[in-house]
Symmetry: C2
């Protein structure tokens, strides 16, 4: 008999998310039926979008039901199989959620995919070669439409999405500038991730000051901007956008806990003839194969070596998640379960 530890959403946050919104539970793993496999999770992915699902209000993702296992991406290995296509020992990626094991009905298309760990570490399939990497690819390629010699900028630059964005943008011969919080992250962005420059937003008291720093780092203006943050950062970027600039809106983490984050000067959308587009990568599955192929190639050739923040043990997931929302992670936030 196998015991499965789980983390459930116990109640919804009223403002900031808190650890006591979650609850730990233990259940027995049920016996498998035909077509099912049992996956033991090695890593659980923590991602900002999960904060939106904790609310009951309109968001882009369906609300996470109360009393159920928190949803989320996982990688692990098959430890028991009643599905002919899967063998014990196969390494797989799926959406197993915040728990140690998951039973997966493999007859549903797309719920589980085998992953090859000869050139790509297993955990990367939750980051650079997973949903965050494809997110960077889609926003850059399909919305920011980079051309060689143009300037591309990303906020939350050292996170899972930002790291992949840098490698993808440099591969297209774009000047690539990051925005991150703190000198360590900024140094890491330029020394390890390939950014041409990185601006520490914490060194700037307001949008005006941050905007001046952006002007120094992007003297020709910004052609494409990938937004993860919103608020002051977006206000600082907007005046620096070049005519016909493109902004991919992937996240606005500064507003996830309910803070008001108005956009100060929407007139600039007209003045600079900008295109601003929000997207969710799960709605663009047709682009995943090309994106994953490019991303795993960049990892294999050493141009994409993203950093990971690893919390240990399932019980550490809530605090690690809250840290992610506050920018305390450094690189892709994972929970290591085994």
């Amino acid at each position: 008999m196998t015991i499965n530890q789980q983390i459930l959403l116990d109640n919804r946050p009223t403002a900031e998310a808190r650890a006591d919104n979650f609850r730990l539970a233990s259940v027995e793993v049920p016996p498998l039926r035909d077509g099912e496999v049992l996956v033991r999770h090695h890593y659980l992915s923590l991602d900002p979008y999960m904060r939106g699902r904790m609310n009951d209000s309109k968001s882009y993702a369906a609300a996470q039901p109360l009393g159920e296992v928190m949803g989320g991406g996982t990688v692990g290995e098959v430890v028991e199989s009643r599905a002919p296509r899967y063998q014990v020992g196969d390494t797989v990626a799926g959406m197993g959620g915040w728990q140690e094991y998951s039973v997966v009905d493999t007859s549903q298309p797309g719920v589980l995919r085998k992953v090859d760990t000869t050139q790509v570490p297993l955990s990367y399939y939750l980051g650079a070669v997973g949903m965050p990497g494809v997110t960077a690819w889609y926003g850059l390629v399909r919305i920011c439409e980079p051309q060689a010699g143009q300037t591309m900028v990303v906020s939350a630059a050292t996170g899972a999405v930002g790291s992949a964005f840098a490698a993808l943008s440099k591969a297209r011969k774009c000047s690539t500038v990051g925005i991150a919080g703190g000198p360590d992250k900024c140094r890491y962005a330029t020394e390890e991730l390939g950014f041409d420059a990185c601006i520490d937003y914490k060194q700037h008291a307001d949008a005006g000051a941050l905007s001046r720093a952006l002007r120094a780092a992007c003297p020709d203006g910004i052609d494409g901007y990938f937004e993860n943050v919103g608020g002051m950062v977006l206000d600082a970027v907007l005046p620096r956008m070049k005519t016909f600039g493109r902004i991919a809106v992937c996240g606005m983490i500064s507003g996830y806990d309910g803070a008001s984050i108005p956009l100060a000067n929407p007139q600039l959308i007209l003045i600079s003839r900008l295109k601003i587009q929000g997207f969710i990568v799960g709605e663009h599955m047709q682009d995943w194969p090309a994106a994953l192929k490019e991303l795993s190639g960049l990892v294999a050739q050493g141009s994409l070596r993203p950093r990971e923040s690893v919390a240990l043990g399932l019980a550490a997931a809530p605090e690690a998640f809250l840290g992610l929302l506050r920018g305390r992670n450094f690189g892709k936030q994972l929970v290591k379960l085994i």
Copy 2:
């Protein structure tokens, strides 16, 4: 010897534009050189974009030089010609500016075009079958991407752009809803312009109330929105946008005099995966022929009969222009010169 009355930009507004920013002048019409024609203007067009050009700050249009004739669209007739392609009596549209006559060098492509007044009144070439009409066409067709059965909304609904938008949207079998100021304009929008509904924003104290009125008028949500106004109206529209909705940003007249018009909830761009795009129709000349053809067809068949506000005499232009900025016009604002 012909005397030409002109209105010059004398000084730049510090906040609201005022009549004393302008100055009346009289000059002699110079003798024509080869290739030139003398056009006597019948109508001068007044358009919101002119307010942006009065400022020296960054705008989408080059600043209007001080001490020079205010730029603007005109229609009139050729009264003297030293260009073989033009005969005295030809009716023409051009950018003659705020003056009674203009000398046009016809060797420059696109500065003057002959217009046919058998089915379309001359003044319409400044509105429905001119720049405002093409503006409506571009924003609707190229950005809002209407499909039959969808819901299209436009602010400043009874203006030159809004009138054309209604006819173009109805021709595409879209539910078409306007936003305008005052019961007379709203009644006119539904009774004469073909709007399915029109909301009087002046009846609503804040964005929340206006948004509730929009929900009642657009129970399925809004697929495409054409923005002329900004501010409270945009805040009211944004929550009503459907997933994957499109917003064409043509103007934000509520901010033209320097008022701060922050966008309250930019998070909705992400939540509803919106595309918001600013544009200036003069940068899309390739679409003008198709747009003008459709617009003149709609006029000829009687489906586009826009209203005009006509001020009399060049000296009335400044006050008529200030009225336009404050929404006191009703339909396309013109100055009749002859």
